[in-house]
């Protein structure tokens, strides 16, 4: 029997009373209406935020966002299983959505308006096959997510808050758990009822060859139909099952759409939006305070930009930042996730209506529900682990620093930090040493070091506070100077013209002091003649590289690791004694995550013959030493594991480890201390990479008996 191609399609409202069809459309429009209304409420909320300036065009940003979403690159990182499951759900859902839209396109638009039809024949057959596959993908993805939440229970999905105690009113976030499960179950129900509905339709219409003979084009439906028929279901019974289930399936699907803007489902849009407005230098280059702004930083929820308010809604509580945060890992009252969720809850309650409440009800500082406490804000090391791993481009660090700016303005900070800021204001360095002593470490060198303010040099070495004043780091500076000298590098210093570069001051939130330091340094550098800058300090490296341009100081700067690598590769320095040592390397936050300088130090280790065993948390996932964001000036609580100790313990499990290699002055201080306090002294040593290069290149020539002082009078 010949079957007309036009009959190869799916019945839609067959046997429906016209009133029933009308009721269905009414419900459909109501669902869409609710979706639109909910969307408007969200948009109205974002509109309370301040302006946000972004670079590039919307088109390029949209393309970059689409690439991230389609590739699932950010979602699969550090959790491949969840990434794969999300991929199944995403593509399954997307295909089913597109499929359903195709029906609407023909049935409600093209056919009534132009009489055009395409949803039949081969198109229809492929359509039903693809949608069945999509349904299976969706179901499998959801099942894995349920197993993950119900049985695997990764710690990062635990919503317990480190910044609250169980007696606090907002300690419990179990409402989120109800929503998580409702989300999974409703989608799964839509998928499963879809298949059963398909099967019921097949059994009901088994008499029609155009339906029954082609049933295996919808394999899941056909399989379910086989089960029904084996169980003895008649066509009639299947028909009544179909009419009941049809409404059930339709209503949850429409309900789901209606609730998108009010539930976590909205991450489909908010996460995409957040990714689209991602700032690749969010933590590396903090925002300036506009001249016109009287009160610095964020005090009210309306001080956040619309993009940051969108960030809050993009969070899916995946817990990756919670897992990566070194403060959280060592018991500090901070989880980047909870900062975002608190602010989100705050925004949702304070900005829900068309009119703003009183200023007092918009204050995001404090301990009430939705507010963020100063203890939480001061726990942050601005190590960027949260920003780096967030799959939806939530940018926590600028929000935290902006909130700290307000705390600094109000003087709400640790007394020792206050003292340090005053010291830096007075002397330009955090050690409270005289400016004149900045270059004193060069006196012990057997050769003079040029003053770049007085004579031109190729390379200006911006030394930084720790490398200038800390006695242990001074020896590293002397070693590095020796290497530069031997390699024939024409270099010089700014001596007492140099001030603290300001990276950590800015991350503390003392923007005025940062501006003073940055402009003072830029003024001095403008007067010096040099081609490039080098520094041994990754913090200095970051701020000069990424932030000084905003203050009129655009320079070419490299961290010493790239310079030393060049010198070793070009033969300016030759390895005479390969070290043959088993080492591990700690990526400094400001060199690694901040500036992607992962390779140079590893290349050097290879060149000098070291056997590098990376720790599990390395490169982008490197664990902070705990000193960043000004935390080096704030005492850590006593009796609690410090981040540096946690890190040394991680290294200590490497069998036969000889050297823990660092490439940052603060790291040297933090880890030599942690080596002792964790009882690992004698098992392995902490060394600056510079010191290993010195050893491999061979000892410096013996210093002449009377060192020539090179310090300016």
């Amino acid at each position: 029997m010949m079957i007309d191609r036009h009959d190869l399609t799916r019945i839609l409202f067959e046997d429906f009373h016209p009133l029933a069809v009308t009721v269905f459309y009414a419900i459909g429009y109501a669902a869409i209406g609710m979706f639109c209304w909910g969307t408007w409420i969200q948009i109205r909320k974002y509109r309370y935020g301040t302006a946000h300036a972004y670079t590039g065009t919307l088109l390029t940003r949209f393309r970059a966002m689409s690439a991230s979403v389609i590739s699932h690159r950010t979602i699969a990182r550090r959790d491949h299983a969840a990434g794969a499951a999300h991929r199944l759900i995403f593509f399954g859902f997307a295909l089913l959505f597109l499929g359903t839209s195709t029906i609407t396109l023909e049935y409600d638009i093209l056919k009534p308006l132009f009489g055009t039809r395409f949803w039949f024949g081969d198109f229809y057959l492929w359509f039903s096959l693809i949608l069945d596959v999509a349904g299976v993908m969706l179901g499998l993805g959801l099942l894995y997510m349920m197993i993950r939440r119900g049985w695997i229970k990764p710690p990062k999905l635990n919503y317990a808050r480190p910044d609250r105690v169980p007696t606090d009113p907002d300690y419990d976030r179990s409402n989120y758990r109800i929503e998580d499960w409702a989300f999974l179950w409703s989608l799964l129900l839509i998928a499963v009822t879809g298949f059963v509905l398909e099967a019921a339709r097949l059994v009901w219409l088994e008499g029609r060859p155009s339906v029954w003979d082609y049933r295996w084009w919808s394999p899941m439906g056909a399989a379910f139909a086989l089960i029904m028929k084996t169980g003895g279901m008649t066509a009639e019974a299947a028909g009544s099952l179909r009419s009941g289930l049809w409404w059930f399936h339709g209503l949850i699907a429409l309900g789901f759409i209606a609730l998108i803007p009010f539930s976590k489902v909205k991450h489909i849009f908010t996460a995409s939006g957040s990714l689209m407005f991602r700032d690749p230098l969010a933590a590396q280059r903090l925002p300036r305070i506009p001249e016109t702004q009287v009160n610095p930083g964020f005090q009210y929820i309306t001080d956040l930009s619309w993009k940051q308010l969108l960030n809050l809604d993009a969070c899916t509580k995946c817990g990756r930042c919670h897992e990566a945060c070194p403060a959280r890992a060592t018991g500090a009252p901070l989880s980047p996730r909870d900062v975002i969720l608190s602010l989100r809850e705050f925004a949702n309650s304070a900005l829900a209506s068309g009119t703003l409440p009183d200023k007092a009800e918009l204050d995001i500082h404090g301990k009430s529900p939705g507010q963020v406490s100063m203890e939480t804000l001061w726990s942050c090391r601005t190590c960027m682990a949260c920003v780096e791993i967030c799959p939806v481009a939530v940018e926590h660090v600028p929000i935290i620093v902006q909130m700290r700016r307000k705390l600094v303005e109000a003087g709400e900070m640790d007394p020792l930090l206050t003292k340090t800021l005053q010291t830096i204001t007075k002397t330009g360095n955090s050690f409270g040493e005289s400016k004149r002593k900045r270059g004193a470490w060069t006196k012990a060198l057997p050769f003079p070091v040029k003053d770049a303010r007085k004579e031109p040099v190729d390379v200006l070495w911006f030394v930084g506070d720790y490398a200038s004043f800390d006695p242990r780091n001074q020896t590293v500076s002397q070693t590095f100077a020796g290497l530069l000298q031997e390699a024939g590098v024409d270099f010089g210093l700014l001596y007492d013209g140099e001030s603290n570069a300001g990276n950590d001051i800015r991350r503390v939130g003392e923007e005025g002091l940062y501006e003073m330091l940055a402009t003072a340094n830029i003024d001095v550098m403008q007067k010096a003649s040099f081609k490039t800058i080098v520094t041994t300090d990754p913090h200095t490296f970051n701020t000069i590289r990424n932030e000084y341009p905003d203050f009129g100081g655009a320079y070419e700067i490299q961290h010493y690791t790239t310079l030393l690598r060049d010198l070793l590769q070009s033969g300016a320095l030759t390895v005479k004694y390969p070290l043959n040592r088993r080492v591990t390397f700690h990526d400094p936050c400001h060199l690694g995550r901040f500036n992607k300088g992962y390779d140079a130090p590893r290349d050097i280790l290879k060149l000098i013959g070291c056997d590098l065993i990376d720790m599990k948390r390395c490169k982008a996932n490197s664990f902070c030493c705990g000193a960043g964001g000004g935390r080096i000036w704030i005492p850590d609580p006593v009796g609690v594991e410090k981040p540096a100790q946690n890190r040394i313990r991680e290294a200590a499990v490497i069998a036969d480890l000889e050297v823990y290699v660092v490439s940052c002055p603060k790291d040297l201080t933090m880890f030599e201390d942690a080596l002792k306090t964790t009882g690992n002294e004698g098992k392995f040593v902490v060394r600056e990479l510079i010191e290993l290069v010195r050893e491999a290149v061979g000892a410096a020539p013996t210093p002449v008996s009377t060192p020539q002082a090179a310090v300016p009078a």
Partner: protein
């Protein structure tokens, strides 16, 4: 504005590394001085600002005053950033060389012009450490005073203030004092706030008046060396005694010690 507190502050000098004495031998070469607001004055100002903040808006006015050349503006702006309402700087080249009594004479004249309810001063300054300026102001004004105050209870417009003073040997003394009065404030009475660099910049918008001697009714002879009861003769770094660690075994140490004693006595080793 019913109550006014006048806080006398000083921009003190701290020594930089490897400083040098001025050619006339009477002071440190100014190039080697790092200047900052006197620490005690920071506490005195904080105490005044706390009283202001606890009162209704506009009920208390805090005025800071300093005697010093241009560079003292920096210390005054810091005070303005921390909450003082306005600042006064008094200077005339004739003031140079004043001792603490002559400085007090200037501050007394400013007090008579401002008629405050309370005058606060730091218990001492970290550079000269006479601890007398505040008390001298009280003497010149003929007002009651309390020195080294480490706790204060005062309500704006009150006739009396309750103070607790720190005495030697860990003793404390509490007393009531009639206002107007002069109090010199001890460290630790409160926690001075941090003045952010931005707030110091913004404080440039607050009034800072510069007065000369004529403005406060003093003549050049009442200040400077001629108006002072004491004069600096010389400032110098005392010669350091020699210290040496004697190392080695007990017998070696004893032998070395004996040799040193003999050397001092002029005996041959």
């Amino acid at each position: 504005m019913s109550t006014k507190i006048l806080v006398a502050v000083k921009q003190v000098a701290a020594l930089d590394a490897d400083f040098e004495i001025r050619a006339d031998g009477k002071d440190v070469d100014a190039d080697f001085l790092i200047r900052d607001l006197n620490e005690w004055d920071d506490f005195a100002l904080e105490e005044a600002v706390k009283i202001k903040e606890a009162a209704a808006e506009g009920e208390v006015e805090v005025v800071v005053v300093s005697v010093g050349a241009d560079e003292a503006d920096e210390a005054l702006r810091k005070c303005l950033a921390k909450g003082a309402d306005r600042a006064i700087r008094v200077w005339d080249d004739a003031v140079a060389g004043s001792d603490s009594i002559a400085i007090a004479r200037v501050l007394c004249a400013v007090s008579q012009r401002e008629t405050p309810d309370l005058v606060f001063a730091g218990a001492q300054s970290s550079d000269h450490a006479f601890a007398s300026t505040g008390i001298a102001i009280a003497g010149l004004l003929g007002w009651p005073h309390a020195a080294v105050v480490n706790q204060l209870t005062y309500l704006p417009a009150a006739k009396q203030a309750g103070v607790r003073r720190e005495l030697e040997g860990g003793l404390l003394q509490t007393m009531q004092i009639d206002c107007p009065a002069v109090l010199t404030i001890q460290l630790g009475i409160n926690t001075p706030r941090y003045a952010s660099l931005r707030s110091i910049k913004q404080a440039a918008a607050k009034p800072l008046d510069t007065l000369g001697l004529a403005d406060i009714g003093l003549s050049a002879t009442e200040v400077g060396e001629s108006g002072s009861l004491s004069r600096v003769r010389r400032m110098y770094i005392p010669e350091k005694g020699r210290a040496q660690m004697i190392e080695g075994s007990a017998a070696e140490q004893a032998a070395q010690l004996a040799a040193i004693i003999k050397e001092y006595k002029g005996e041959a080793a």
